[in-house]
Symmetry: C2
Subunit: 335 residues, 2 copies
Amino acid sequence: MKVAELGEFGLVARIAKIINTSRDKSESWQKLIIGMGDDAAAWQGDNSIQLAKVDALVQGVHFQTGIMGWADLGWKALAINMSDIAAMGGLPKYALVSLAIPPDTEVDDVLALYRGMLKLAKQHGVAIIGGDTDSTPYVSITVTVLGSMGRRKNLLTRNTAQPGDLIAVTGYLGTAVAGYETLRRKLKFNNKTSAILKSAFLRPEPRIDEGQLLLKTGIKTAIDVSDGLISDLTHICKASRVSARIEAEIVPIAPEMSAAFGNKALEIALSGGEDYELLFTGKPEIIAKVKQWAACPITVIGEILPGKTCEVTVVDSTGKPLKLSKKGWEHFVSK
Amino acid sequence: MKVAELGEFGLVARIAKIINTSRDKSESWQKLIIGMGDDAAAWQGDNSIQLAKVDALVQGVHFQTGIMGWADLGWKALAINMSDIAAMGGLPKYALVSLAIPPDTEVDDVLALYRGMLKLAKQHGVAIIGGDTDSTPYVSITVTVLGSMGRRKNLLTRNTAQPGDLIAVTGYLGTAVAGYETLRRKLKFNNKTSAILKSAFLRPEPRIDEGQLLLKTGIKTAIDVSDGLISDLTHICKASRVSARIEAEIVPIAPEMSAAFGNKALEIALSGGEDYELLFTGKPEIIAKVKQWAACPITVIGEILPGKTCEVTVVDSTGKPLKLSKKGWEHFVSK
């Protein structure tokens, strides 16, 4: 069978299976808390839980050089991995970068990429400590971020959602894909709208502080919205063996994105990925605390239901299920 | 300026410079012991020194799929990073894998790649804890290995060589490139010779135990031979601000490689990379201890000299300098 027939998620499941079969009694495995299958891996360090995540941005798959500047590329390649550390409740500490670039790339462009990355790194006290560069026909940047839980013993995971939990999300959804469409199709909006949309796609802000807040209030379940709301909520449902219902009309959409994309805005918000907001679940009284203390908008969008079919249903304000054409972002599978 | 004009080492130096300029008083930077520029990065963890290294194998640059099987590729992608941890004196603990493959790749081939990697991981108690997969036109595998120094407070670094140190190396040199040439040019040798040469290229064994032994005996300076003997010894010389002289006729060459490659064997041994042997320096009495305790051949090949020109001179048995056509392996620069 070809990888394209199995799809990315199917392939990762097969890989995870043979890795788990190899698990033995060595110290590394004994200390491992979470391996593949959550936002980041976690293990018991000397005194504190350690975290690690790797992800790549590949030209033609995740970005086009015409749309994305070099500094944006550097920023985003780091941001997407810091976001995964945030979604576990961790603090990012160190980053390693593997850069593949064509030999005719301008040195200044490579340095701009690093400057973009360093700008974000500096904001969160992350040190870039390693890197390799290779000559390839196209650009690909792979970043590993290492993090730590500090003194906390608990983590935010995908497999702890329970029926009765409310589902909530930080910030707004769909803005990044709206920004991508704005760039790709050269759409014209007013300056403020353009800036908000483009920046959501080019310079996502990992929700580090919000991840800390979720932990502090007692939230146990979180994921970052990278594949898209429905897709990422499905990841939570499958890991937790529950189902979920979300109400379309209360999904938070930035007013500028609503105004710019009209009746397409909802579908973009439901299925568009790369917002790197935190999607989380918890008991109503805990969610209320998060809303009270958070510095960003927190919106309750639905609830976790019993149901081992692990289905995500989107309903309108009358409770009627909506049909959706697109569920999220998966590599290898043609859409 | 294009990256190809500057070369890989020049580019890495420029990148390291802007990263170091961004260094601030954040905890991560404060705890960093070694950033870019050695075999691996090192920082102070809760109780023990932590290590990390990332490196990639890219189709058409580091391997051709016709020459290298999928399981070999998995093994080697992990081995080259474990070797860097070994060259710091560390123990590898965890690995994260970022795999880029064409969508028409067979699922079984991907699983074979992971099985090759897991085989090596299991031998050294390394747990594979994360991964992402992306669809790309060609195969690229990026591995990050995390390690630890256990209770040891010292490290093996490149910048501690001193005039009067002897230069020594584990095992044999040039075997990997001889194996690559055997595979690429479909050279025919007897079965034993073919097996030794090919396996040196396809399945290098990271020198984990030897790295531990070097630390234990009091060696302070080491690097793994990935770019080639002269190139890697030059890295030590530049980092330590010293020069070096090696005697060509005592460079250790596997008897099978000598027999197979005749008068080309020496040049391959001097400039060929990817052997992943440990190259180290130390006072004669410490080197003597290493020789006594090591389970593999340890060969003294020369000595460290004063001289801030950081030059590596290769001499014949009469002390006359040899001219060499090729100094090692550097990306971007056409040879």
